[in-house]
Symmetry: C2
Subunit: 487 residues, 2 copies
């Protein structure tokens, strides 16, 4: 065997073990008994130690030094393996294990604190998480920026400076759009009770329409909707609210976007480093374009209005124009995951700036709730009324995910670019969507984005698909047109 072949054989096992660890997380969020948390923390820690040992095995370094890529895909494999190896050897094994153990525990404490609206009860463990993540960031960054080193985990090549420049240009336009859209009283959401079984059935139907392959996946309920896995086992979760069927429907379509990305990757890449979504930003571009540009479009709302009335009977809106407005309503809320396409990005910018400050050392965990509330009041114009509506609303920080949030808005930016290219490529898009058939659109995304997995760098994937470098302009034009017309 050549060094390349030996390396790829080794990587295949590492990838398989990494899928096992991912499935363990899925299990924890969906089916694990609540009394198993302490044992699970040890199990996850042991898996993390195995993976860390494999990722930092000196043989990987030797093989990398000797390996020659047989083709372009092989070169991409080597590039991804080299990046992962160089990052992994920088983090001490003890630190990696401690982080895995801690975050398995801290997540439970976050859930309890959120239920009790008690940030003070969560702050000590979050401080510990931040302390370890700072250590990790320092180990990774060397002389570079600590926060950039964390962003790199989710969006290779992206920097906080670049994101800040993009976000700072978007923010005044978003604030203005938000203010004009919210000039009147809040538009009412749907009212009434919507049978849970019907919600779940309809969301499964939408998953199928958007191309989710149930023979290689499944949908379960969880507190937080997510997608998990790659290749031939990609599972998603959803949730239901009795008074809001859109919660279940649109979070399902969102996760289907993520899952279709993973399911759509060329099967020859399965269980290799190239066989996964290339970055969180590109991932989010898929979930967002499915959820927003496609499923919240005027034509798809025509279709969905009919299906929902068939499924639920009258749903309390006068006509499909009104339905479209309810689907795209802005309201004065607190929760990121419930936010519309306009305000969502303001939520992200808030978190991005707080994270940056935390890792620059300009903000301490003890002051985080106050900083959150101040910034929220400044951007949204009203006060956070409880911690679960503010600093405790997201799971991310409790599990050490710092540098992740900005990729959500980057994903929106990428989705804006892809949507413009998609509309140009598919003149019948609106007609298809009005018939409830996003198949041509999802096929275009599979062909131009999803199948490649990690073959190209994130920005290059988008550039190839769109024919030009990504910028925020297409997203902003889309938002201003859509929500300008909706006011």
């Amino acid at each position: 065997m050549t060094a390349f072949d030996e390396l790829m054989t080794y990587e295949r096992d590492t990838q398989a073990l990494s899928r096992v660890a991912g499935r363990l997380s899925w299990d924890q969020e969906t089916v694990m008994p609540r009394g198993s948390a302490a044992q699970r923390a040890e199990e996850s820690g042991a898996m993390e130690a195995v993976l860390h040992a494999r990722r930092t095995d000196p043989r990987v370094g030797d093989w990398l030094a000797a390996a020659e890529a047989p083709d372009a895909a092989g070169a991409a494999q080597l590039r991804l393996i080299r990046r992962a190896y160089e990052r992994a050897v920088k983090v001490p094994a003890d630190l990696a294990t401690a982080l895995a153990r801690l975050t398995s525990r801290s997540q439970g404490q976050w859930a309890e604190a959120r239920a009790a609206d008690d940030f003070a009860g969560f702050a000590p463990v979050l401080e510990e998480v931040v302390r370890l993540k700072r250590e990790e960031a320092e180990a990774l960054a060397g002389s570079g920026d600590r926060y950039d080193a964390l962003i790199d985990d989710f969006e290779p090549g992206m920097t906080a400076i670049e994101l800040a420049a993009m976000f700072d240009a978007m923010r005044p336009r978003l604030v203005a759009l938000r203010e004009s859209a919210l000039a009147g009283p809040d538009r009412a959401p749907l009212s009434g009770r919507f049978d849970e079984a019907v919600q779940l059935r309809l969301s499964r139907e939408m998953a199928e329409r958007f191309g989710y392959d149930f023979t290689r996946g499944r949908i379960d309920k969880a507190v937080h909707p997510f997608s998990s896995g790659s290749g031939d086992d990609v599972r998603i979760t959803t949730r239901t609210a009795a008074d809001d069927p859109f919660n279940c429907l649109y979070s399902t379509i969102h996760e289907v976007g993520h899952a279709c990305y993973e399911q759509g990757i060329d099967a020859t890449y399965h269980l290799t480093p190239v066989g996964q979504g290339v970055s969180m930003g590109v991932h989010e571009s898929q979930s967002r374009i499915y959820e927003n540009q496609l499923a919240r479009s005027r034509p798809f709302c025509h279709f969905l209005y009919g299906r929902m009335r068939e499924a639920f009977g009258e749903i309390g809106v006068t006509d499909e124009d009104e339905f479209y407005r309810v689907v795209n309503r802005l309201h004065r809320g607190f929760i990121r995951t419930e936010a519309d396409e306009v305000q969502y990005n303001l939520h992200i910018m808030l978190r991005f700036d707080l994270e940056r400050a935390l890792f620059a050392g300009d903000l301490q965990v003890a002051d985080l709730e106050a900083a959150w509330n101040d910034r929220f009041a400044a951007d949204f114009g009203y006060a956070v009324d409880r911690a679960s509506h503010g600093v405790l609303q997201d799971v991310h920080w409790s599990v050490g995910l710092f540098g992740y949030f900005p990729t959500y808005s980057l994903g929106n930016v990428y989705a804006g670019c892809l949507h413009a290219a998609l509309r140009a490529a598919l003149p019948t898009l609106d007609k298809d969507l009005a018939a409830g058939d996003p198949g041509a659109a999802t096929a275009w995304l599979r062909e131009n984005v999803q199948q490649h997995g990690g073959l190209y760098e994130p920005r290059e994937v988008i550039t190839r698909a769109c024919g030009s470098e990504p910028t925020a302009e297409p997203l902003m034009i889309y938002l201003e047109e859509k929500f300008g017309a909706l006011t």
Copy 2:
């Protein structure tokens, strides 16, 4: 750290990883999408390779040579680790790999052959399995008996000679009991349709009554009922048949027995070698005593009859005496897993004798079906009508499980001993059971058997609980009294 502490730290991670591998099997049997099988095979193989490498790591040998046990529990840990290590290093890596590959293929071929009632189609791959298992047995046995070496995997310290002496003494009494119990026409089972949701609700209630801790476990549906896991995450599965609620109820109570054993082990042993059931025989003693001596008893049937009528309405039996007879009905069947307390052991003895002959070289795979059918006709008095009702009915041999079957009857023997001791210790047992409360009985089992995990050798656990060495006599007396009165 002392060598003992280093070894135990290492073992703790191995145990945690082994739990992860077990959870992966649970996932495969309960929730895995059907299109994920090929990827899952790679994931399981990668986990198995990690575990094999850990179990044969030369450091374990070094630590074992240097370790001194700090106490009796520590001595038990060392004993179990030493046994596992010595077994693991005796099997050549090539052979272990070949067996893993072969049995993952042969199981599928068995399933196809069973569906087609075609033993000849299965015989070639089974021959290969037996050939490799003989090689493995030879590697393990050294100058000892090959079949004993296989039994040792499931029941440490037990030998075929000892089992044969026990079984040979039981067999004529079981045959006689079977003949007298089956003198008349077959008793009819329940008829009618039993709502699946009610079956599952009632089986959950029974699980709780028998002490299953749902905060550290869960029940799901699967093709085959099983219990999976140790310590704080012990899951069971069940199945339903619309026309036979006893299938779901009693297989649940059986698995609850297994699960309560694992859940009942002293928490200080969790994630250590002592922190698991000590042998298959002792495990089966718990599942069997829950299912049979407790849940199929006359007093518990009084309670269950009432609960089933509350849950299902009239169930088509005239009174609780008739109900008790239906619960304990013998019939002229072919299938081990559907057999009553009497005939079950005859099924096991048949398999045990055939396995013994196979590994002594007195029987070849090509002659296995004829040998099965001859023996079945001799013990049961009628002919096997098709291979799926005979030699192809069990999965065990297809995956190389030889030496496992006898532990089922050994478990019944142990359950008989424990039941006699339990009745002596708990004068109110019948009254408790009639009230649907096996709590005192399960507490006695937890105290006297379950909590110890692997602290004592299998036979010693039973001897300590009962105050005397185990023999088949209490089981035989119990069966003859119970089924003598039922004819």
